[in-house]
Subunit: 269 residues, 3 copies
């Protein structure tokens, strides 16, 4: 009986310990995906919603004239804002899709050095619209599709891998990543940066693609993040093949530094 | 009796678990405030004390001539140094008050990208004096008032908000933030940066203030931190009103990404 | 009997809690040292091995021609890559030794802002060789000696100290740190940066050395890390004496912000 008692207590304790570990693990990576649905509880007209990666979506119906110049908004007064602590690529992909589907335009894309202690970036993307309802709609779409584009972000305790692919790039990828609108576009990225260098070589050898850009910690294209990033274009089949080859290699290399790298949502490439 | 035993054990275990959680939470944010009182135990004449934000205060009575140029000290040989892992704004405010009260001058203010995995900056501030006792006195004052200026820094697991206000800016705010000496000065700041953009708009709409500067991750004024920062001046009542309006909005927005944002000390604005 | 039972359960629980704490503490600092021995399990010809600081060693036998320009490889096609999340100094020292011992050359050294939430840098070092077997040999040597050069990296919950010393600098220190080949070279570094400023003054006052460079968060030489770094040369005895004096002072100052600063391997200076 005493033994049973001990076991019962120990089980409950070990369950609680597991919960604590999980909580601290998830706190150090990314927040769970959540739909754009909390507007009522926040009670601010500017608030649109939140999503994975500590991402928040916001709108301003009419930016104060004192700020339009310092915020470099051009002629836009109605803006949408999407920004997160973790991930620039997923948010850029999500806004690319949102801008394609709405009457809005990308004003600026900035890459803070963040990821909450991780090796990569956060994001701050501003879009402009004639009418705030268009900006709000675009932000909603971006938040809703964001979990998809976290699908091929893989992480473990040592670092992360990120891959993106689209058959037809649009305005946000053009602005932020030098993609050509209407053409296929792919990206390989890893932190620590050493792995990203190998993934770049893997991708260009795996298929007939054309390099758009290569970024490393101290040579531009990053905000001193610990990443090497390759972007490329080509036939959509070739671009996808190049990305897929890099995913396989990336998982093995990052896995050598820690546990099996895992996606927090569902891979889409 | 068995049940009581289990409950007694479970309570003690759950208390210990709570202590563990608290410890890891505080480790990832800021150190507790502590007075400038540990000089004796360290046993170095350069040591003045420590304070909240992993901040340390130091003096050098006579900097070696080999370093005065590379450290850009001008004609000063006696210097005070205040720097922390978390927070640039609070340290700048504290030094502003310290320089006002002593015969010292601000030599340089640098903003490392830090906050121990958070979205913001750390700080490195160097002040100069004719006599090292003046530098030491200024550092002591700064360390002592520092907890006050952490009062309107609010944080949760997703990010932070920072607000500062003074009715009369002095030399450190002039040097670091472009404030005009003797005039009121206010600041709104949030990470993730998206929230900071809304706070800027909230502040300028809430009262009749004049913008001094706007900083974002990739457009200067930050070291690629995940923050948008607005600084402004005006009538002291208006500046305070603008800051207060932003505090209300900031707490709601950051709260949408996590728990209720909380101050580690006592709000002063 | 009940009391014994409680004590038994409490002991086991407290052991488990201690294990959890240790795990989270080590997760936030550096990975354990491990030899370059996991190549077989990864199954990629590019993989050489891993080591302390989440460091990975890799080679590419023939970099794709599309990448040689964007990666700024000059005429080299066979390269070795060494990069980690934590530590630039140790990796630079390790590669310095590896290049000295092999037929390879340093192509580039980049310093991402990293250390997994710490105050310092990560690293990305690329070396070139005529033959990939030379590059592989150099990477193996660097990974094997890396734990030695983490010997005088000391950390606690508030920050870190880093010291390096060599009686004869070679190509990597020349490229990355402005050292003169064949001469003694020393480095003092601390985060938060305020402590690093004191260590610089301590070092130059302790012995007859000549300053090579001084780096601070916003004045170049760092990627906005929260560090002040001094590098210097001179008679090898003097350089070592200067470094040793700074180690003593650094431990006291960093210790004032937290626990006793400890090395993760074995001090060598």
């Amino acid at each position: 009986m005493d033994q049973q008692l001990i076991e019962k207590v120990m089980k409950q304790v070990s369950d609680e310990l597991a919960a604590t570990k999980t909580a601290s693990a998830s706190a150090s990576s990314t927040a769970p995906a959540c739909d754009a649905c909390c507007g009522d509880s926040v009670g601010l007209t500017e608030f649109v919603g939140t999503a994975i990666g500590d991402t928040i979506g916001l709108v301003i119906a009419s930016v104060d004239p004192m700020l339009t110049d310092v915020m470099k908004l051009g002629n836009y007064r109605s803006i949408g804002i999407i920004g997160g602590r973790t991930g620039a690529g997923p948010q850029i992909m999500a806004v690319d899709e949102a801008v394609k589907a709405t009457n809005t335009q990308v004003i600026s894309v900035e890459l803070p050095r963040d990821t909450k202690g991780g090796a990569g970036h956060g994001s701050l993307i501003i879009i402009g619209a004639e009418d705030v309802s268009d900006a709000r709609r675009a932000v909603e779409i971006a938040l809703n599709v964001l979990p998809k584009y976290f699908g091929d972000v893989y992480g473990n305790e040592a670092g992360h891998l990120e891959f993106q692919y689209t058959a037809r790039a649009s305005y946000c990828l053009e602005k932020a990543m030098g993609a050509t609108r209407g053409r296929a576009w792919g990206m390989t990225c890893a932190g620590p940066a050493a792995i990203g260098a190998i993934l770049a070589d893997t991708a260009v050898k795996a298929a007939n693609v054309e390099v758009i850009g290569y970024s490393s910690p101290g040579n531009g294209g990053t905000s001193y993040s610990n990443e090497c990033i390759l972007t490329f274009t080509g036939d959509s089949g070739a671009v996808r093949q190049a990305v897929r080859a890099a995913i396989e290699v990336g998982k093995k290399l990052l896995g050598s530094l820690g546990g099996e790298p895992e996606s927090t949502t569902t891979p889409y490439i």
